[in-house]
Amino acid sequence: MMESAIKREVKSTEPMAIEPFDKEWGVGVSGLTENTSPFPRINKILKWLKERDHTADHERAVIYTDGYFKKYTPYPQILKCALTLRDVLQNVSINIWPDELIVGEIAAPAKSAPVYPEFSIDWLCDEMVNAPLDQRRNDRYVISEETKKALFEIKDYWKGHTLEEHILSTLTEEELKGSHLEKGVNFFDLYVSAGAGHVCADYDKLLSIGFGGIRKQVEDQIHKVNTSDPDHLTKKEFYDAELIILDGVTSYISRYGHLAADMAEKETNPERKAELLRISSNCLQVAEGPARDFWEAIQLWHIATNMIIIETNGHSVTYGRFDQIFYPYYRRDIEKGTFNREFIQELIEMSFLKIHELCKIRNKTAIVFSSGTFMGGTALDVGGVDKDGNDATNDLSYMVLDAHAHTRIPNPWMGVRLHENSPWEFKVKTFNVIRIGTGEPKIFNDAAMIKALQNYDKPIEDARNYVGIGCVEPCVPGKTYGWHDSSSFNIAKVMQLAINGGRCIGCGSHCPRYSKCAGIGGRLGIDTGNLESFESFDQVMDSFDKQMEYWCNLMISQINKVDLAHQRLKPLPYLSLLIEDCIGKGKDVSAGGALYNHSGPQGVGIGTVADSLAAIKQLVFDEKKVDGKTLLNAIRANWQGHEPLYALVNSDRMHCYGNDDDYADDLARFVTATYCKHVEHRPTPHGGEYMPGVFSVSQNVMAGFYVAATPDGRKAGEPLSDCIGPVHTQMGSHDRNGPTAVAKSVAKLDHSRIGNGLILNWKFSPGAVSGETGRDSLISLMDIYFENNGMQSQFNIVGKEVLTDAQKNPDQYKDLLVRVAGYSAYFIELSEELQSDLIGRTELSFD
């Protein structure tokens, strides 16, 4: 019965899903078209998913609490974590949804978020009462009475035992004053209340030897441990934890196999019955064994990644280089006739839907600024070079791009790796998908990404195999625990302190910190000088440098405490199975078991600070149009009473970053280099080194809330410049010379130091990129940007009028997908603040 269903696919002679390389799907149409997949099953499931509410589920939390506080209290932490997670995997309810070909969940049903009380739970319980999650404007979650009751019941067990409480108890007043809790210099909240995630498993190993093979690796190591070794007990506990987890893993995957078999028995439709039987045999095979064909491989890849999410509570759990991981299976299946391309295309699209159903609850503050992400960071890359530097693009690279064109959902977060020998056809396919206007995929420049990784001591073969974690973070898959995104650092706030004697602009008794600051000399930072008294621009730069050093040091001491708390309270025995060389070292991934370890905090507001410094240099020191005191008073007054000056700094008379103007671009280089200098290569507690990034995702909106007016013509509370892009303020865009100038300005920054990656957002009107002329000009623009060592680009290709209309009439734009920053999201699911920031970005339009 099963064979007939599969053969049905094989018989088809004209593959309908293998689109010609230059197939166009339209320009700027985004997701506003229905039934875009050639597979009725995919369209049907997509419709079902869209209609389903996001919910929360308590089962994981209840089982975890039970193990943690009742069954396994006397165990050492790593065993306690392993045993509780095993219990979750063995006992949590599981489902196989209608029509699906790949199964697996994250310990909660489709579009339902599990709860992770070990990180933090108070905020959720508080919001369930005081800020109901089903009444949010965006990122809405419906929570059943049963779930609420269950969560309230376990809440008190965790009092004093959560990761969040532990971290907060270790922070000093000096570390707290600049945090997200107070003055917003440094936003390190991401890993205080959730897991670090931001990791890519060793899928090559997993698919080829299976969990059974990994079990054998662990068992081999146990025998090697010398009992007189001082680390003996730590290692033994680690290996015991690995074996416990493996029991849970095998049981979890097998349970899906048995469920599928049970469902097949009751199924009356013969085709579905065959599918269920095959799903069952897939699961029973990969519960221990290796994947033997594409379907088994994609099943194992999916469910193994889900278990990382069940364990870690991290986002940006990355799916790796899809076309490289799966090509051997694809090729063998096509050659042997096991499956045809059409069926493999359907499986790829199926896997996208499975990724799309994942979600994670964030608190009410987080969703204002990073709204619409749901799970977040489900990155997957295609294209690029192999470990020898040759082009590695293959059939699957094209099929993955077609899969996005067919599904037009914001998951996975797709990345295309390009290099000097990427096939022309592949570029055409990539840019045709980009021109649809969903914001997917982003593109990476292999040369720049590889160079950055080499700068952080990666051997060339590993560097060439990089994957972009989450948004963009360069990472060697399967070997790295990168702590990417460990903090967002508000460079604009530091710049303000640097020109105002270490005081906030607007410092006064209305501020809740006023009395505390008084105790440290009446200032938040250190006194490095004041715009009223600087005698030269060199003094301004020197003050900025010193202030940056002070705050970067504080940021690093904060992150280190968070890092250490994770090691102590939340070891990750399951993830450790999938990251080299945890098993070899006998060390948990959180404690430095990985081959490569990093921590990657992002600098936010490069453009804002560059334009502010340029304004100071030009107006105060070069042209002497205003004195420092006047400019300082103007920003203190939020430009009120200084309107002509406000208009001037926003006018084309100024030197601004993004115009291929060295005057301002040199200052952007200086700001970036200063941030990198104070962060790069410093040691992390889990045994690696810091690696700075310069992108904001949407933190530029959040960080802007904490920053008073800035000399670049920004008013208090406005967003900072996004990622590595030029400034746009209420008064308009500061980049005025079009895309070639932006490309050249950005490429002037020293990308090789930016080991944690960067983002460049482009926004084109559909007219500017339509037709063959528009397509090929855009490809060439990116070719040159990459030849100049630009690292990354991503695109919005939706008209401003469409976005404005969608903000007013959300109901008519439910499927309008746009690029936010590291990710794409449904426009109507974004907070108002983020929508407006997006509308305000410079639209490059040429006709």
């Binding site: 006018s651 010379n737 063959e772 100049n788 040429f846 006709d847």
Partner: protein
């Protein structure tokens, strides 16, 4: 040709636009010359008509006189200033003979609510900007396009600039109405690689009605361009109810086939779009087609494709719009 006090020839330029992709092959930098002998009623660049520097007014950009008034304070005419205001905001700048166009108000205005249309630029100044994007031209077969206004009105300066581009191995394109003395045109052609011109109407009376001049000189120059074997792209700005009749399109097709011997790389039928309204307002000029309401997109799009098909009957490489590759 105009020359600065230092003896440097200069052109009067309204705008420089980088990454232009529809006026010639590849990625280009487009230089807009100021001054035009035609007055097309559908003109969307009215700032390019007069060969004088002009004041442009954007009342919406004015930050308010109570907060600023740098313009009025800088006006040498004092209280008798031609700057008119309403409700604390700039309204217009009356054209009065007493205003000597000293442009002090525009120089002072911080928000560019008062700005100057037309900048005097020398060849080295323009070449500096042009060369910034050289890599983009090389990669894409792009280069420089001179447009306007009317390039031929500043033919001596244009020839100098084109020569400088050619010396720098940059592809050159001139977009012109070709309403000019043939000698000027030929001089400009010496360093021109591609010419883009319009045939706005084949009936000289209608041509005169819509543009202010007859079409004889233009057609003669187009014929001469073909004789010189200069690579040529012809455009028809298709304006509904003005020149979109089948009769006119067929007449154009016959001209291209019979007189030019189909010496044309591409014939583009460009849909009329109502843009430029704001610019007319800044110049305090009426928009001749201000009351015209163009038909629905679906209607004109269909019509445009039909006219394109007709052109193909004459074996002319006709395309709708300007986003298909020229070569």
């Amino acid at each position: 040709m105009k020359i600065t006090e230092d003896g440097e020839p200069y052109g009067l330029i309204t705008n420089i636009q980088k990454y232009t992709i529809h006026d010639g092959p590849g990625i280009r930098t487009e230089i807009f010359f100021k001054g035009c002998p035609l007055r097309c009623i559908w003109c969307s660049n009215p700032e390019g008509q007069s060969y004088e520097q002009q004041i442009g007014i954007y009342p919406s950009k004015c930050i308010g006189l109570s907060k600023c008034s740098l313009c009025i304070n800088s006006c040498p005419r004092g209280t008798d200033t031609p700057i008119k205001t309403e409700d604390d905001r700039l309204l217009s700048l009356q054209e009065i003979p007493e205003c000597k166009n000293c442009f002090r108000c525009a120089e002072e205005c911080p928000s560019r609510a008062i700005m100057i249309w037309g900048k005097k630029m020398s060849v080295p100044e323009l070449m500096k900007v042009i060369l910034e994007d050289r890599n983009f031209y090389l990669k894409t077969g792009g280069g420089v396009t001179l447009s306007g206004g009317e390039v031929m009105l500043q033919w001596e300066f244009a020839a100098l600039l084109l020569k400088a581009c050619r010396d720098a191995s940059i592809h050159t394109c001139v977009e012109s109405s070709l309403y000019c003395p043939t000698e000027h045109m030929e001089k400009v052609y010496e360093a021109t690689d591609l010419v883009i011109t319009d045939i706005k109407h084949m009936d000289t009376e209608r041509h005169k009605e819509y543009t202010g001049v007859g079409n004889e000189l233009i057609l003669k120059n187009i014929k001469r361009t073909a004789e010189l074997k200069k690579p040529l792209v012809i455009r028809i700005p298709v304006v509904p109810d003005h020149n979109n009749s089948e009769k006119n399109i067929r007449a154009t097709g016959e001209f291209i086939r019979d007189v030019l011997g189909n010496h044309v790389i591409q014939l583009q039928l460009i849909p009329f779009r109502k843009i430029g309204t704001e610019k007319y307002a800044t110049l305090n000029l009426p928009y001749p087609m201000g009351d015209f309401s163009p038909p629905e997109r679906s209607v004109w799009e269909k019509n445009l494709l039909r006219l394109t098909e007709i052109m193909k009957e004459y074996n002319i490489p006709a395309v709708a719009g300007s986003s298909q590759k020229m070569c």
